[in-house]
Amino acid sequence: MSVLREMFENLLSRPITILYPKEKVPIPGAFRGRVAITDEKCIGCSKCSLVCPARAITMIDGPREVEFNGKTLNRKKRPQVKLYKCIRCGLCERHCPTGAIFLKNELSSSGTDGEIVVT
């Protein structure tokens, strides 16, 4: 009988399904989305490329003067992330000393093209 009662209750209630493209799905604050890099903050320490479990981050040449803790540093390298190799674990964000590399709150696409990079 509990099943019948439940059925009638459901008949009177609204559908719970979110009609995705029309209605937006709420994205939580902690969501790990597409990776992004703020170039002016990066000091080129290579920590992100060392902790990346998917080995998606390589350090490429990118000389620049960066302000860090009141000092001016001459960095030599900057990270480059292969977008579709990234598993969005967020370890780079966790270990970045300056917050230069981070995961945005927007959805990341997936694909097989290995040439698409984020710098």
């Binding site: 509990s2 939580p28 902690a30 479990p53 598993i87 370890l91 966790r94």
Partner: protein, 393 residues
Amino acid sequence: MPEVVVSIGPHHPALKEPVNFKVVIEGEKIVRLELDLSYNHRGVEKAAEQRDFIRVLPLLERVCGICSHAHSTAFAKGIEEIMQLEVPPRAQYIRTIIAELERMHSHLLWLGVAAHVIGFNTLFMWTWRDREAVQDTVEEMSGNRVHYGMNEVGGVRRDLTPAQVTAALERLPNLEERIKKYVDMVNSEETMLIRFRGVGKLSKEEALRYGTVGPTARASGVDYDTRKDDPYLAYADVPWNVVTDTNGDVYGRTRVRIGELWESLKIVRYCLENLPEGPIRVTAPRNAPTGEILSRYEAPRGELAHFIRTNGTDKVERVDIRTPTLANWTSVAICLVNQNLADLPVIVAAIDPCLSCTSRITLLDSQTKKTGVMSFDELIRRNRSRDQGLVRP
């Protein structure tokens, strides 16, 4: 009895956990089940030996999608013990909350799958709808529905904000009401009673002899739960009970899982209300000293064991993972003897494996010596056709 052995199975590793079944049948009765366990070798253990302690956790999370937190916690817990790190209580509580939410979503998923294989798709829809409340809570806390990425050696990566705690607590009364309804349904709904009672019986002696773990063992009356017998995380501080049942059949396993849903809800509520203040992690050294440890964890499907050997470097020398499904497989072969072929899906589902394992089954009729391959859909159809008569077995 004449026996013919035919080796057929899902060979493609892209199928989830491909396990090879050979069912020997006589008419509609199952005579024997033959399993080939070492079927899909993914090389996770070897890959884990080549990654340091920071990079290995995302890999171990991917051993299983449903119990991803179980694997990373079991590993982190073992390494912390070797390093003799004192993990802050707040981190222990946060790990417990995620672990119990994971158990709730796993059991709700299982209840839906069990209902689905007996053709009771209405219940399947309801449980999966309610599971979304649990998934939303986990997503809010960790940022992901699966592969939460909460653990690191030394603590957890993300703290819980007061807003997240309040939002999680607000969802619990509704879930509590839903679980009460499921308890009612399982005990009174004729469709489930007919298909679950007396199916796949496993006595207490057999459960012990074949080394079953988790809800499968507890449904046969074995009072064994790692959370109680060897408390880890915050389980020693939280008041909760081990759920056991004496039925020993699929009905008993359903009752144990629904009872555990209830207990998990209690644990989550207690942990959220009594979340201690303080840091969420300690800084772990890069290298672990030489040592060996067996880290045990009660995953949703049963006891999970990680054997870890370290050699003073920043990588493990050996990690051996014993998953609960592996421990429970042998009991399935025992449960199935003399059962109807139509009850096979629900008996296999009762240990909560990945059901895509049974995507193809070899059938052997021992009288006509006819063999053939049956797709899982066909098996489900055959299973459901039994419901039309609704005869008590």
